[in-house]
């Protein structure tokens, strides 16, 4: 069936709508003006240099990266065993257990952030970084449980039974038989969780404290005071991270996995 040319033109416009704003951000990061403008007037890279001169950007970049890696790591550490149990012992475990791991998606992020601030950083005087780490781990836990779970649902557990009946110890079997078979699910979960974590605003918003913040929150704070192209330069750098992640996805799973 031939696609209607009007629809094709419409889709082309939608693609321009999707890509142009990001091109505009990159363009305005090069402008030699002290305010944000597009098209750029004069070309300079000084705003990129400025990103690394502002201490707050350097430190929050590191914090965001640490939260992304350790928060995701923590969620996979508890999420993979849970996903395994939910698939392997489907009959033995109550049905409602799997819906527990949908809750982080259902509860608005901003409500989670506010509630964690009240109970952890204020209620328990927990250090800001620890509270943020917990918040991020909870935020991305659904990816760990559900994306890995989808891989496990397609895994034939009789292979594992065969290994065990041949004398392989259970833990060793998990690492040498099960894990390699669900590798793509684990990679997908890690990538989606990491991206969600480093882009998060609503949970971190309430859990930052004196001297500790994340990059997205720092960008918002910077924009409260300045309207120069530095933020455009940070944004361009963040898009570079997106490109790296996309290349990683394409190399391991193929980008079409995101339509599944």
């Amino acid at each position: 069936m031939r696609t209607n040319p009007l629809l094709i033109a419409f889709t082309a416009l939608v693609m321009v709508f999707l890509v142009a704003p990001l091109v505009i951000v990159i363009g305005s990061s090069l402008s030699d003006t002290s305010f944000l403008t597009f098209p750029p007037r004069g070309l300079t890279l000084k705003w990129f240099a400025n990103v690394f001169e502002v201490d707050a950007f350097r430190t929050t970049m590191l914090t965001s990266f640490e939260l992304g890696v350790f928060g995701t790591g923590l969620s996979l550490l508890v999420g993979i065993p849970a996903a395994y149990a939910l698939n392997r012992f489907r009959i033995e475990l109550p049905k409602w257990l799997s819906s527990v791991f949908v809750l982080p998606v259902l509860v608005p992020e901003i409500v989670l952030g506010f509630s964690l601030m009240k109970s952890l950083t204020i209620g328990l005087s927990m250090p800001y970084f620890t509270a943020m780490l917990i918040g991020h781990a909870i935020l991305v836990l659904p990816y760990a449980v559900r994306v890995v779970g989808a891989s496990l649902a397609a895994f034939d557990f009789s292979i594992e039974d065969a290994a065990i009946s041949l004398g392989s110890p259970p833990l060793k079997t998990f690492f040498t038989v099960v894990l390699p078979n669900i590798r793509s699910g684990v990679i997908a979960a890690f990538i989606l969780a990491f991206i969600t974590s480093i882009n998060d605003v609503s949970v971190s918003l309430f859990l930052t404290g004196p001297g500790i913040s994340t990059l997205p929150i720092q960008i918002l704070a910077y924009m409260d005071q300045f309207f120069d192209p530095t933020v455009a330069a940070v944004s361009a750098l963040l898009m570079l991270v997106t490109v790296v992640v996309m290349a990683g996805v394409e190399a391991t799973l193929g980008l079409t996995f995101l339509t599944k």
């Binding site: 419409f10 693609m15 836990l141 760990a144 997205p216 918002l220 997106t242």
Partner: protein
Amino acid sequence: MNRRLGWALAAPATIGVVLFLISPVAATIATTFAEPKGFLAPYIAYFASGFRRAVLVRTLEIAVITTVISVAIGFLAAYVIAQAPRRAKGLLIICAVFPLLTGVVVRSFAWLIILGKNGIFNSILLATGIIHQPLSMLYSEGAVIVAMVYLFVPLMILTLVGVLESIPDDLIQASVSLGAKPAATLFQVILPLATPGLIVGAVLVFTGSFTSYATPQLLGGDSQMMMGTLLYQQAMVTFDWVSASTIAAIMVVLTIGIVFFMTRLARRLNPMAA
């Protein structure tokens, strides 16, 4: 034995959710019912305030408009992408994935540049002499909606491309060979089959825009406050935690209520299920 092992493996994650999600959020909601001023007093106060009622109405309005536009654009674009030849499809999917994986702050910020006083719209309008003073397009409901549509169209496209590709080609062929015009096939065969997927996508867009913070903060400012920005303001600027908790409770109830209602609806409307 298996039961015990299952519980042991699921325990750390379950305890994590109970301790760091269910308990804190339940505590937040509980404080709104333990007010000395009387049962439901914080809710009565919320709805007695014209300003706060307006924020709730505006938030619902923006979320509904954003959802309708995103679903319409996403469906038509996904329809074309699902039919596109392999290579074009790859490129189109990259165009959708790239913004999707870029953060909400960056994507909202882009519209700050586009709609700003020195932005591209004002530059074009000034250069062509249509206007002589830059227009102020920011901090309006329209600005928030445009940025939110921008935020959610990629999500809608990617959700629907998967849904549309899973529709058996035989059904479309059958419709075409029986003489249905392309538009009839699109709206009478493909659309009903895609409805459950459309609803799932619409729920994601609605809840995402209903609970958003960064976009209304950047593009709406104080004049276009939404539930998320009001919650933040009550909690961190005026330090009225009971009021902030009340807003949180309203957001939780509405979000979960809509998700449940819509997933039920999606199940009932699924023509492949019967």
